[in-house]
């Protein structure tokens, strides 16, 4: 493989002044919309589609890709500063990132997130350049059975996300799964749990749920307990990560990058799992897992790296097979078709300049983003010095407008209030929302894949065991289950002993 030749072809195309400019515009715009809670890249890319009619195909793709990964960088900023996850991937960043901000360590959290993302972006870009076609073939080996087993593993990982009672975490996962089932059943077309409302027939919007459970609940709690408000505790000790921070973070970044790169390739919801599973992995192998959820820097570094790596490698199915792995990628397909580039395996051979140009522009874009974001860290931290009573109405406004803009439906804004109420109930009962959210994301996938696998096998449940990849995931799930259950049992026995 002539990697160097390909890369230099790509750089030659991506480094033209015009393409550099579009890359910068995309990265800037992406950061901006990523920072606004609730406003995602989908609405923005859709808005820009007609403008791309006039650009060259390469410039259009470079700009749209820039918006996509720029939004990943920006999204973590809001998650860390105000506990608002605008994308499923930044939910986990809230857990420890926001705690770090409350301890006055927003600076190090933001800086590690940016640096970790940059490193992951570089590695993932290299992986795409080296292995894209091979990996795409691997992703095709995943049928419904494989995905179902992967989802089982993901749900067990959700239980590990919680720092309190295992049993309550399991309850929250199941509650999340049930909430995920609201809407039209894919297999039968039947409406479930919709109370006759058409607004619910496509399910509850993720952004509304996440904004309600995390953001709105946090605001209400902060107002009920003024002493918890961020500006009270935020003595900004130092802006940059210390040596100790770097030492703690570099291995999690490596592991997160690896996990994210692999899961990002899977088009059927794999990338969703990247940040969650990276967090779970760190917590499982940490010497002191109890630090997680209380401001552990590993809990920011690993998921952020995984998330960005996954965001990059999720381009692989698109570029090599023409199969979009999420809504943003589906928009990219639209943009490519407008340009007369049929996304698919032949892009690489027929339009090498385009293919390699997009890939190298990803690396350039990541470099721009890290240069752009590091100086911004100081500015974001200063934002926390705005008195809380002025800050929260602004957060609420951005959040409400953002959620509305996802599908231009005021009903979704009402759902934020409902989930704010539920989030408050969970808080007062000591139930953690993160496992619920993961259950909510994975629930519909899990049922869909399970039923599809059984439909295809005509009801033969052994497919999950006879297909090697699926079997591998199930074995891994069993092992993870063992590590969750064993300590709980030990505790139970000790408790029983004390009682007697």
């Amino acid at each position: 493989m002539d990697l160097l030749g390909n890369l230099s072809l790509g750089f030659g195309a991506a480094l033209s002044p015009a393409n550099l400019l579009y890359c910068l515009i995309g990265a800037l715009l992406g950061t901006l919309i990523g920072v606004l809670p609730g406003v995602g890249p989908i609405a923005t890319i859709a808005m820009l589609l007609p403008i791309t009619f006039k650009l060259s195909p390469l410039a259009a793709l470079i700009m749209l890709a820039g918006i996509y990964y720029g939004a990943q960088y920006g999204g973590s900023t809001t998650a860390i500063l105000v506990n608002m996850p605008g994308e499923s991937s930044s939910v986990v960043t809230c857990l420890d990132g926001y705690q770090m901000a409350r301890q006055g360590r927003a600076g190090p959290a933001l800086a590690i997130a940016a640096l970790g993302s940059f490193f992951a972006g570089c590695v993932a870009t290299l992986i795409i350049a080296l292995f894209a076609p091979v990996l795409a073939e691997l992703a095709l080996k995943f049928g419904p059975a494989e995905y179902f087993s992967l989802m089982v593993l993901g749900l067990l990982a959700a239980v590990v996300l919680a720092s309190g009672s295992v049993l309550k975490a399991v309850g929250m996962v199941i509650l999340g799964l049930l909430l995920g089932l609201v809407g039209t059943d894919v297999n039968s077309g039947m409406a479930r749990f919709t109370f006759g409302l058409t607004d619910l027939s496509d399910g509850i919007g993720f952004v509304a749920v996440a904004m309600g459970l995390f953001g709105l609940t946090e605001i209400i709690i902060n107002l009920e307990h003024p002493e918890r408000q961020p500006q009270v505790t935020a003595k900004v000790s130092h802006l940059w990560p210390t040596k100790a921070d770097f030492k703690a973070a570099w291995k999690p970044v490596l592991r997160g990058t690896a996990l994210g790169s692999i899961l990002g390739i899977l088009p059927g919801g794999g990338a969703l799992l990247a940040s969650f599973s990276a967090y779970t992995l760190e917590k499982k192998i940490a010497k002191d897992p109890s630090r997680f959820g209380k401001g552990a820097i590993e809990g920011v570094a690993a998921p952020e790296a995984a998330n960005n790596a996954g965001a990059q490698t999720s381009f692989i199915p698109l570029l090599t097979l023409g199969i979009p792995s999420n809504a943003v990628m589906a928009l990219m397909v639209g943009a490519m078709m407008i340009q007369g580039v049929a996304p698919g395996p032949q892009v690489m051979t027929e339009r090498p300049q385009l293919f390699w140009g997009v890939i190298t522009s990803m690396w350039i874009g990541n470099l721009m983003l890290v240069i752009l974001n590091l100086p911004l860290v100081g500015m974001w931290v200063k934002l926390l010095k705005v008195p809380y009573r002025l800050l929260y109405p602004a957060i609420l406004m951005f959040c409400a407008i953002g959620v509305y803009s996802v599908s231009n439906n005021a009903f979704d804004v009402g759902m934020i209030a409902l989930f704010g109420l539920l989030g408050l109930l969970f808080f007062k009962l000591g139930c953690e929302p993160a496992p619920l959210l993961l259950g909510f994301i994975l629930g519909p996938f899990m049922e869909e894949y399970l039923r599809r696998a059984l439909l295809l096998s005509r009801g033969d449940a052994t497919v999950f065991l006879t297909r090697p990849i699926s079997l591998g995931f199930l074995i891994a799930s069993a092992l993870l289950l063992l590590t969750i259950v064993a300590p709980a049992f030990r505790k139970l026995r000790e408790e029983a002993f004390v009682e007697d």
Partner: protein
């Protein structure tokens, strides 16, 4: 720790799980179940609802034996005001347009912050209306009507 009350967080968590599980099973009662090998739309919800109720039962029973943290007061003025302001925004937006909805959202939610300073709230409301219009309507070109229905 033996003196802690029995009506603990865990007990009520268990009750909540049982309630949600029961509700799910109740709502799913009319959905066709199918069989394990060819599941109908009712299979997953009913099974999960039952499982959730069961977990709720175990959590609640364990809480009766092991006293734990008490539940804090649930309703509060900030809660009502914040939730109300968001609901108000949602209800107003389709009829009144973006600007009146923002005014309601910002003013009502500001009431939750304790002592209200009308001047600062006024300035902030005006500023946010301007930012939202510039950013979302002019900048990103989102389809909003500033005043009135669309």
């Amino acid at each position: 720790m033996r003196h802690r009350i029995r009506n603990s967080q865990d007990f009520w968590s268990g009750v909540m799980f049982m309630a949600f599980g029961g509700l799910a099973m109740f709502l799913a009662r009319t959905y066709p179940m199918g069989t394990a090998s060819r599941m109908g739309p009712g299979y997953f919800p009913t099974t999960l609802g039952g499982l959730l109720a069961l977990i709720g039962l175990v959590v609640a029973l364990r809480a009766l034996r092991h006293p734990g943290e008490p539940v804090q007061r649930f309703f509060s003025a900030p809660m009502n005001l914040i939730l109300g302001s968001v609901l108000g925004f949602a209800l107003l937006l389709p009829f009144a347009g973006l600007i009146p909805s923002i005014v309601v959202l910002v003013v009502v939610s500001s009431l939750a912050g304790g002592s209200l300073r009308w001047k600062t709230v006024g300035i902030e409301t005006a500023l946010l209306c301007l930012v939202a219009t510039a950013l979302f309507v002019w900048g990103l070109g989102l389809p909003f009507s500033l005043f009135g229905p669309r």
